[in-house]
Symmetry: C2
Subunit: 259 residues, 2 copies
Amino acid sequence: MSTLKLNIVILGAGNVAWHLAKELQNKEQNILQVYNRSEKEARSLARRLKCDCTTEIEDLNQNADLYILTVKDSVIEEVSASLNLKDKLIVHTSGAIDQDVIKHKRRGVFYPLQTFSKKKKLNFKGIPFCIEASKSEDYNTLMRLATLLSPIVYNINSHQRKVLHVAAVFACNFSNYMYMISDEILHKENIPLDILHPLIKETASKVSSYKPKDVQTGPAVRKDKEVIDTHLKYLKKGKNYDIYKLLSENIIHKNNDEL
Amino acid sequence: MSTLKLNIVILGAGNVAWHLAKELQNKEQNILQVYNRSEKEARSLARRLKCDCTTEIEDLNQNADLYILTVKDSVIEEVSASLNLKDKLIVHTSGAIDQDVIKHKRRGVFYPLQTFSKKKKLNFKGIPFCIEASKSEDYNTLMRLATLLSPIVYNINSHQRKVLHVAAVFACNFSNYMYMISDEILHKENIPLDILHPLIKETASKVSSYKPKDVQTGPAVRKDKEVIDTHLKYLKKGKNYDIYKLLSENIIHKNNDEL
């Protein structure tokens, strides 16, 4: 098989574009152009990639093999509809949006399942890519492209991707929110969150070897009402009180269901 | 300062005793005896430590320097009250229980802030120890003992420890419960949780460098009502629906408060 060398246009200049476009370039792919509505971000990413940029859809380079939409979920449909491209492969990178909101014949999804922040460097080799395409040749191209970036590539259709996204909200966004509440609670007592880092890391690392259900610990799974009540009394009526109560009740019930 | 060499009796034979007693022995401390109400566990741990064991409080070795209560939170008070020991240092290892439930003059707390499972080996060097004692000489002894096991030792009083425990429930027990819900959701679609491991690890590792508040991602913090509604529709009415709704609302409100 010949070496893959695609001409690519990146649409959007946010966190995903920032890391993904650079990594594609590192893997010898040719980024022709960056499009972004706001000029400042377009220029900033184009500088990083040493490529052309534009803020006008009409000025889009027509000669790429692949157009990657990294724009916000809410505008993927609108931006893709505005593309006047003939027989070009157009993909988005979103976990939440159906492939079919792209109304072009050759469409697909190139979804890196990771949380991106501009400032935090990422090792792409650890990122799972979820691939989908309307045509099998395009699917194969996207698979080859993803495999350049990471050994973990999944064939995931739009329904599965949506489910995956819901699961990721729990595993990532909500677990981070739990850390945020911890930080808030400790902050009031002048205790740094550092003290919980080893516990947070150990808890997260356990999922590699055990099912989360089998390593659930704490007062709720032990049905230790006394400790739960002490904790609720401390949290008093407040937002964190409601969360503690609901999660503890659910852990207790889930455990009862199995008895 | 002379080398620390304590004679220790361990009360309880659960997960904490299993790991802590062994590690104390590895650090040249002398485990004289294991006490446990159930003989099977007492014997099993005594075999691991190659020491004496008993199921009777009356047969407790009276000559130790330190008695470590690793029994369940709910029986710490009762077991410590049944100890007929004169002028001996008695500590418990619980995050939730006040030092003062131990009604002996020389009392303290030796709390390893980590989640323990018998089967999972732990590196003690990464475990924070939270120390408290009624007398300053005993506090110094416990500090020296903890420092043998780990470089991370904190002076934490009973009130702070209770708060820490509440925070740990969020950071550890509840984040693990979020993983459990993810697993449940993916299982229904025959997608293995493996696909989320990199995301879970990255999310947990971010807390070492950033405040959780500054790296919160996902539909709720973006106030992306459309995605939130799609997710809620998928979860329909059910236990996970309620959790998704409450957490998303809280993330949105917390964000509004700051504007």
